[in-house]
Symmetry: C2
Subunit: 381 residues, 2 copies
């Protein structure tokens, strides 16, 4: 008999909002939710060593991109080296996306059929095919704890007609992915979970129809995809609001590719348990540091001689050891250490926000927390 190592446990629910706090049990440890997953696109969170992610940052789960790892160095290579956890020296949980988002945003797309998608590598133009079945196999080769079903991620805006056609294809692909996943031998279902993705562009009727159809799969968790594709931010939240009541209470919900620091509690308030985004790491590298007092644009001249830390309230190595003046110097000089220190801080900030949110839910004070966040400045004075 295979042991089921994947399950979700709700610890507390906010009586006012849809927020919940829980524990996601995986074959690579327990993830406290709500959780933000740092993005390790190419089997590395840009600028951070796994020992810092595990130690100082205490991240419990990372996201990695199937599309990128499939193209380079290849899923078979990673499997032959013991899987992605060993390859990148990360002993905790990993969620991999299906590759769909990257195919639709990065590659020279060739053709979408009901069988899958034919695309050109953004690295060298080579032609490849992703099918619902092949992306399950790729993610299992990587050894991912949470797999995502292949979806079509439409750009914004699209017509209701296109959105419906696309959504229906995403549902058919999810069914095909599930059928394939369930036929896999051994302990696959005990060690791995496959999440389907709710699509439907910015149409609430399509979102709800998609969610309802995906419910039939009885999946371990559900994602809301197709957000952060250029739509106004209130629309993204509206789509989550429309979808959430259709989803089962006892399954984790994952909002893909969100969001800004002030948006994290908004998604949680709408019933989201999991999020990921490149913003903390990408903005760090671009000179935007998130703090409890708002964002710091480190290249600004006013920080040239500033002896204070990026965020006096932050306990990260960067804030405990270095001044804004030093970070500005490293940024201006194009030094690698800037990217490392800035990313460490920004990811810490995101994870600290999630710990605050979780603590607020567990202690019954999430509505007050949300009000405080909504009044806070976005940029430092």
């Amino acid at each position: 008999m295979s042991e089921d190592r994947f399950h979700f446990e709700i610890q507390a629910e906010c009586p006012v909002t849809r927020a919940r706090a829980g524990l996601l049990h995986t074959a690579h440890g327990i993830v406290e939710t709500p959780v933000f997953m740092p993005v390790g696109t190419q089997a590395t969170v840009k600028g951070l060593a796994p020992r810092d992610l595990e130690g100082e940052l205490d991240a419990r789960i990372l996201l990695a991109n199937t599309y990128h790892l499939y193209l380079r160095p290849g899923a078979d290579l990673i499997r032959s080296l013991g899987g992605l956890h060993r390859f990148m020296s990360w002993p905790r949980a990993i969620l991999t996306d299906s590759g769909g988002y990257q195919v639709f945003s990065l590659s020279g797309l060739r053709k979408i059929t009901d069988h899958g998608v034919i695309f050109q590598s953004h690295l060298n133009g080579d032609t490849h095919t992703f099918t619902p079945e092949s992306t399950v196999d790729l993610q299992l080769a990587l050894g991912s704890d949470i797999l995502m079903a292949l979806d079509e991620c439409p750009e914004y805006p699209v017509s209701h007609e296109y959105a419906r056609t696309s959504m229906e294809r995403t549902v058919r692909w999810a069914r095909a992915a599930y059928a394939h996943f369930e036929k896999r031998p051994g302990d696959t279902r005990g060690r791995h979970a496959l999440f389907p993705i709710v699509q439907g562009s910015m149409f609430t009727d399509l979102r709800q129809q998609c969610a309802a159809e995906l419910l039939e799969l009885d999946a371990r968790g559900y994602a809301v995809g197709g957000l952060s594709v250029g739509e106004p931010r209130p629309l993204s939240l509206e789509m989550v609001e429309a979808t959430e009541p259709v989803l089962l209470r006892d399954r984790p919900r994952y909002a893909m590719g969100v969001g800004m620091p002030d948006e994290l509690p908004e998604y949680v308030a709408r019933g989201i348990d999991m999020m990921d985004c490149v913003l903390p790491s990408r903005n760090a590298r671009n000179g935007c540091l998130f703090t409890s007092q708002g964002a710091v644009r480190i290249k600004q001249a006013r920080f040239r001689g500033d002896p204070g830390p990026v965020d006096p309230a932050c306990q990260c190595y960067t804030c405990k050891s270095f001044s804004r003046a030093y970070l500005r110097h490293l940024f201006q000089a194009g030094e690698i250490l800037y990217a490392a220190l800035a990313t460490l801080h920004n990811v810490r900030r995101y994870l600290d926000i999630m710990r605050e949110i979780r603590h607020a839910i567990l202690s019954g004070r999430f509505p007050e927390y949300l009000q405080t966040v909504r009044r806070a400045p976005v940029e430092i004075e």
Copy 2:
């Protein structure tokens, strides 16, 4: 009375070669010699955080470049922020060069006079002047433990005539720097040491004359400069060999800008106590990893699926945690983490070599150690 916190203590001398092991006491801790100083050009060793340099690598002294820090962010700014140690969060010893080498190699050089050198910034073309006095003041503003006197570093090759003229100017500049340094108020001489630099291009007579004249300064230590400027490697060693007998036994000798891993014991065998070089960090970033079995060119296809560490004999975080295959993947993907992990390893390798050398001298086995190194392969099989 000011306490003299800078002194050099010889612990052991090799009975066969000129190698010595000692302790260099500074206001920021004790440096075990022979020592290799990682280069922190712009107040950071590229790719490494100070906590790793201090913790895992146990580096005791870093080098920083006065020229770069003078141009950006400025020595006055660093002084106003508490000095370079605090600025870069490095509590141990720092040696700063005088800026002479960079002026002669990087900048749009305008004019050399007996008073100093007028040059153009490589960053924006602005005109600046370095004098023997001003570079002492700059280095004191930085709070450096070991200052270098301004020198002229001629390219290779130059005529004997030019080399003599240039060397004589370096001697006059060193005298001016000393006169200025000794007039500085307070505890300057107790907390800081100023080293003059022996020049003379590749002419042994000029090297010896220069060293003899600089001896009159009764400096705390002496550097051999003007090496690694394009000359054949045996010539560099020959210049050190010619200079060493002129220098005082009880003062540390610093060979500037050397060398490859296999050259480190050669310099030590010729009486050198201190070295610095960008090679471990620069080569790391370029894909060349130094190991106990020779250099690994990580981009080579043979490492694509190699599950072993960069160097099985190395105890660094990189070697304990990651495969050659993973490092090759990071290198190919242009990931920041590659530079961090590769630099950590290469600097560790250099510091481990220095610890091996020191241990061999202290235990009376340095000649055997040198023979072993001379028989070792430079590239892995």
